[in-house]
């Protein structure tokens, strides 16, 4: 099993990478960790003329913590992210999601930005970014633009990235007060692709009602997305409401069907994992309040 013959290019700067993208356009594949792309290359599911290896671009490993957001450069490895206390305490949902991403031997090389650029519908990092309403930064010869994560993912392995653009970083909103987080998924083995994954961010008001709730679903449709839950704001933050929300969402999703699961099973997972994660997020938010 060998990839097609390709030209190997290792730029030292973002500018050099962009020159290569201008030269090769959609005939180029960009490799960061290579945990997904490497497999697709070896199986010849992608057949690039050029492989642009961005691992030599130092600035893509940057980490900047601001007041309201943390910015992670594309090349920050998943294991490296797990070892960054500022990132893990600032973005608790990411801390809960990362242990589900692949395995010890893949997180050591796989990157945050690479997973987002690859856009597997069951991947945990895109799901987390969407749930938190984060953003993706892209650079092209024309300049830089930031795309909300909820608009970036457009379908199976399909994103808003244009052929001349490089994903340079991700923007993660920092946790707010009285906000709880939960993440759960079901996979055939721990670390395998999620059959369904649910990520929740929930803010609970002082009177115990829901002030804000965001329920992200992965592995269910062809991209990670946030379900419509606005109607539940103001309801009591209880397990009964959690179950109502999960059941409501399960009725409106349009699940993928594959060898692992049919649509009914994925809908049932939305009910079960949804109820569990919502309840856990409400509890986490209430715990934050009591601690404050």
């Amino acid at each position: 099993m060998k990839p097609v013959a390709f030209e190997y290019c290792r730029p030292d700067t973002v500018e050099e990478a962009l020159e290569l993208l201008k030269e090769f356009g959609s005939d180029a594949s960009i490799i960061s960790g290579g945990l997904s792309l490497g497999a697709m290359l070896n199986m010849r599911l992608v057949r690039p003329k050029a492989l642009i290896d961005i691992n030599g671009i130092d600035e893509l490993g940057n980490f900047d913590a601001g007041d309201a957001t943390i910015r992670t450069g594309t090349l920050i490895r998943q294991a490296g992210a797990m070892a960054m206390p500022a990132l893990m305490s600032g973005v608790p949902l990411l801390a809960k999601a990362l242990p589900h991403v692949g395995h010890y031997q893949t997180r050591s090389r796989g990157t945050l930005g690479g997973s987002v650029a690859h856009a597997d519908p069951s991947a945990e990092i895109p799901l987390t970014l969407v749930t938190l309403s984060g953003a993706v930064t892209l650079r092209s010869p024309g300049g830089s633009r930031e795309v909300p994560a909820r608009e970036f993912f457009q379908g199976l392995l399909t994103t808003d990235r244009r052929a001349d653009e490089l994903v340079t970083g991700l923007t993660w909103p920092i946790r707010r007060g009285q906000t709880g987080y939960a993440f759960e998924e079901l996979a055939q083995r721990h670390g395998d692709f999620a059959i369904a994954a649910v990520a929740v961010e929930a803010t609970v008001a002082g009177d115990g009602t829901i002030a804000d709730v965001s329920v992200g679903l992965g592995g269910v449709e062809d991209r990670p997305f946030v379900a419509a839950t606005a109607g539940f704001v103001g309801k009591p933050a209880t397990e009964a409401t959690a179950s109502d929300i999960a059941n409501t969402i399960a009725e409106v999703v349009d699940p993928m069907v594959d060898l692992q699961a049919n649509a009914d099973y994925r809908r049932q997972l939305v009910r079960v994992l949804g109820t569990r994660t919502l309840t856990a997020a409400f509890d986490d938010a209430t715990g934050q309040q009591e601690a404050a």
Binding site: E7, Y8, R10, A39, Y104, Q105, T106
Partner: protein, 161 residues
């Protein structure tokens, strides 16, 4: 910026188990194939070639990771540890290898090289792991002979627990 044409053979020098060695690779040559066919180091096994089975795991630049998802040209100048570096030059097995031997933690041995390399790095980072942590680390390897009980036992023994 480095550019290597599709059919160009590039000289690649890596430090394997403490010794600098060189070979030639065109861009698409996997690190696994470079280790085996260019350097004659057949200890690193080639299983699924898409990062799932774990047989090819080696310690590359300080991280236990898949060598089938890395191209040799990406590894010029890097330090790589493979299973050949574990035993003493006279063949005496190291503590981890002895523990695998004593606990029957291998049968056909195909997955073993990768598991040994993962476990080596894992125990450096986490010298006294719990069984749950060992199992989590092992989830990145597929063994179809022994089941995992003896492997967990061997790693626990090697950690002195």
């Amino acid at each position: 910026m480095l550019r290597i044409k599709p059919d160009q053979k590039q000289r690649v020098t890596i430090t394997v188990n403490g010794k600098a060695v060189s070979g030639y690779a065109e861009p698409r040559m996997l690190l696994t194939d470079f280790l085996r066919h260019e350097l004659g180091l057949y200890g690193t096994h080639v299983g699924c070639e898409h990062g799932v089975c774990g047989a090819c795991t080696a310690i590359i630049d300080g991280a236990a990771t898949r060598s089938c998802l890395r191209y040799a040209v990406q590894c010029d100048g890097l330090d790589i540890q493979t299973v050949e570096g574990l035993a003493d030059p006279d063949g005496t097995l190291n503590t981890l290898q002895k523990a695998f031997n004593e606990n029957g933690a291998l049968q056909c041995g195909f997955c073993t090289a990768g598991i040994l390399m993962s476990s080596t790095k894992f125990l450096q980072e986490n010298p006294k792991p719990t069984d749950d942590e060992i199992r989590d680390m092992l989830s990145g390897h597929i063994c179809r002979c022994t089941g995992y009980t003896q492997i967990v036992r061997a790693i626990r023994q090697a950690s002195g627990q």
